[in-house]
Symmetry: C2
Amino acid sequence: MSELYLEDFAVGQTFGSGSLRVDAEQIKSFAAQFDPQPFHLDEASAAHTFFGGLAASGWHTAALTMRLLVGSEFRPAGGLIGAGVEEMNWPRAVRPGDTLHLKIEIVGVRASKSRPNQGLIKVKTTTLNQNDEPVQLFTGNLLVIARPAAAPGA
Amino acid sequence: MSELYLEDFAVGQTFGSGSLRVDAEQIKSFAAQFDPQPFHLDEASAAHTFFGGLAASGWHTAALTMRLLVGSEFRPAGGLIGAGVEEMNWPRAVRPGDTLHLKIEIVGVRASKSRPNQGLIKVKTTTLNQNDEPVQLFTGNLLVIARPAAAPGA
């Protein structure tokens, strides 16, 4: 699949992704490293919390979303370089055994005023579970490069 | 250190954190799992990219920030439960050998209209490197619980 330059993007384009399954061990392992709270670490402790059972850290969901983005049909030239997040929330917890996939939509495209060889695209990424229920809504801006000019005389 | 309830929070409060050092192996290991792009995986490949050298994934920086938050002086009763991100960006890359710490500030407190036993606090978390340069700015809302009423007759 070819890489996409700033000129190739337009509002309304959508891209799909593959899928990833997450199990209890992965949820606990991520939590032990980065978010060691009872509702992410242990089924028995989690039962008595807000989540009512083991749930993935929202940052684990975000990291899994990035993994799906990197392997997706959405391939900006130069890579996925985040300029910032405009919105991110987790309408539903990711649970052991869930299988996640993405819906990726371009919602903004603009050239840089100061740097003619780059621009920003605004991307809305919805992370869905196996029942097509959203587990993360994420809108962010990515830095993308413009198509290089043909070499002089080429 | 005691846990904090909704009533204990006020705009302007600040909290500190411990620190965490991140090395090249951790940067590559996180990237291999969640963000396998050249600038996060390998020094030689990274040299020729936007980053000009190995840089941590922004999601790794976010996860390390969460690790520091969980171990910090900022301890809402019931845990750190994210209701959503309002702003997040990475003004500077995290590099191998960097040591990170947080500045945590309460910028909003409001009770829930529909659920009298809970509320939302808005927290601005700045992740700084060893030179006190910001590597991540993050403003998010957290769900916090109100102090339980004394038991009748207690």
